[in-house]
Symmetry: none
Subunit: 305 residues, 2 copies
DNA sequence: CCGCGTTAGTTGACTCAGTCCACTAAATAC
DNA sequence: GTATTTAGTGGACTGAGTCAACTAACGCGG
């Protein structure tokens, strides 16, 4: 569960924006269209040939209601419909010239309105606002489909991100205390401080500019590599990123001449364990511990390379 | 007139958010309240003693409509009204205990809804979304006053945040390499690992649920406290947070019986230096170094307590 | 103090956006 | 070939929101 004051702030913003959009939409009162009419007209105007069913889905309308509105639009000569040859139940909607004119007129008014709003801002401010809008949209719009994940080496800030995300995750999920975050900070910090590019590496999985996963290989000496801090963020699970990161580690360790790859984990991390099993690791030992508060079962795994 | 594609993007966002809010507001269908009811109840619940006229103004409602809704609320025992002694035309609206319960229940549901939405996001993304919301609000809402910052002790994830934000900031701003982030991780990690609540502390400045600043006090022994990792995020500068954090440190160090407070900084950090001077620190030594790549001027400062 | 324009709030009368249900026809699953 | 799902439509309704007309209190100028 996210931070409460974060949520309060978001609610506050939503109240504000409800109001703001309400004001903007009042402008449709000058025209014979309701907000819903305008949304439909916009959708039809910008995606020529949509079906009514698609509109119902995208705009979350009642089919009967939409049907009536389309009927009215048809009567007013704004659109024409014809059955879809590929599916005779369905019909494709196309805008007439007059419909297009109306659509564009609505667009002009809407633009003018926003332009008027933006005109009151200082230079650079509209850009800042729009960029913030894009941020929100990318985060909250499920249809703005997530960019594909990529895996790359670590950069400034990434080690901190590892500490933060894991510290927070294990605290929220398993009630581990700050000693765990301390351990992560220690491991990650030492990795960075003594980083040996010839034998060590840090992979960061990133999606749309946001970090969503990580893993480290550190040198334990004696030809043993250690896989550490494997983590995939909640938002990116089920994409096979964990497996991908572990595969990277195995390939890297083999290539750098390590003899063995070892790792330490805790048994409640089922998904991780499944990956270790699948990639050929074997369990060498386990011990119960209370290193971070609640009791847990630490496990050492090993892979011969 | 602003850039056209900027406006198009803003319109696009508005369409998306109209939809988004529409979805959120569907949830009120579970309750006997409409969106308008909920907005009114929220306003009344959070500003006890408002007048109907104020509601009409703030929520842009029809007075007749509001009057009827208030009448209903009164009948249901959610609110009570009494004439305003200062203006007998007007009436003050106060919520009854039952009304407050309802108000809080609505709040809980609304929170849960947003929490559910946020749960699908990656760690750090809710913060990013909310911070973008604040940006928009600050720009578009003439009445918006920035959320007040609060200063609190550290929690899970905060130490990682310190490492990440400073690692990234110094890399971007001054081109410092990963050795700096390693140093921060080391300092922060050791702080957490050896944390002694009797002599040490970490303050996090938070605004609207987003971390915007930090500072640590660590024990250097011999009655010397060390102020470390002072940082205020770009988005929150100019609010005096840096001064506030340093003041906290001084008060804490004095109270815990330290003799001296020392710190290490670099001279290109003008704002920080100004704070140190103002709070009575004196420069004891400086040396040029290349610890993090580019040449810099490290300084040791000291304050007698 | 009186009139006159204004503001706070209320009631009556209405309308029209949006919903629910039942139905037809085509498509798809089994 | 039958059963189930999906696309679209019309009938019937409801209730959120609007508009106009009203009362009562305020406040300003003379």
């Amino acid at each position: 569960m996210s931070n409460l004051s974060l949520i309060e702030t978001a609610r506050d913003f939503n109240r504000f924006y409800t109001n703001f959009l309400g004001l903007l939409n009042k402008a449709y009162l000058d025209t014979p269209f309701t907000l819903t009419d305008a949304r439909i007209l916009f959708e039809v105007g910008s995606h020529d040939g949509v079906s009514a069913a698609a509109l119902v889905r995208d705009l979350q309308l009642d089919p009967a209601y939409l049907s009536r509105i389309l009927k009215r639009f048809r009567a007013e000569g704004l659109i024409e419909t014809s059955p879809d040859p590929a599916d005779l139940r369905s019909q494709v909607i196309i805008v007439t010239d007059q419909g297009r004119e109306t659509f564009e007129e609505l667009g002009r008014r809407s633009n003018a309105q926003i332009a008027a709003r933006f005109d009151r801002l200082a230079s650079g401010e509209p850009e800042a606002a729009v960029s913030a809008m894009c941020t929100i949209r990318a985060l909250l719009d499920p249809a703005a489909k997530p960019a594909p994940a990529i895996i790359r080496a670590h950069r400034a800030g990434d080690i901190g991100w590892i500490v933060q995300s894991q510290g927070r995750f294990y605290a929220e999920e398993y009630g581990w205390d700050l000693r765990f975050e301390a351990l992560v900070a220690d491991v990650a910090g030492k990795f960075l401080a003594n980083f040996d590019p010839a034998k060590e590496y840090c992979w960061i999985a990133e999606r749309g500019g946001v970090n969503v996963g990580s893993v480290l290989i550190t040198n334990s000496g004696d030809g043993v590599a250690k896989l550490r801090l494997l983590y995939v963020d909640k938002s990116a699970r089920g994409l096979g990123l964990g497996k991908l990161l572990v595969d990277e580690c195995i390939r890297f360790s083999w290539q750098k001449g390590y003899r063995e790859l070892s790792l330490w984990t805790n048994d409640m991390l089922e998904t991780a364990r499944a990956i270790y099993v699948k990639t050929g690791f074997r369990l060498v030992s386990e011990e119960r511990h209370r290193m971070f508060g609640p009791e847990a079962n630490g496990q050492n795994w090993m892979l011969d390379l």
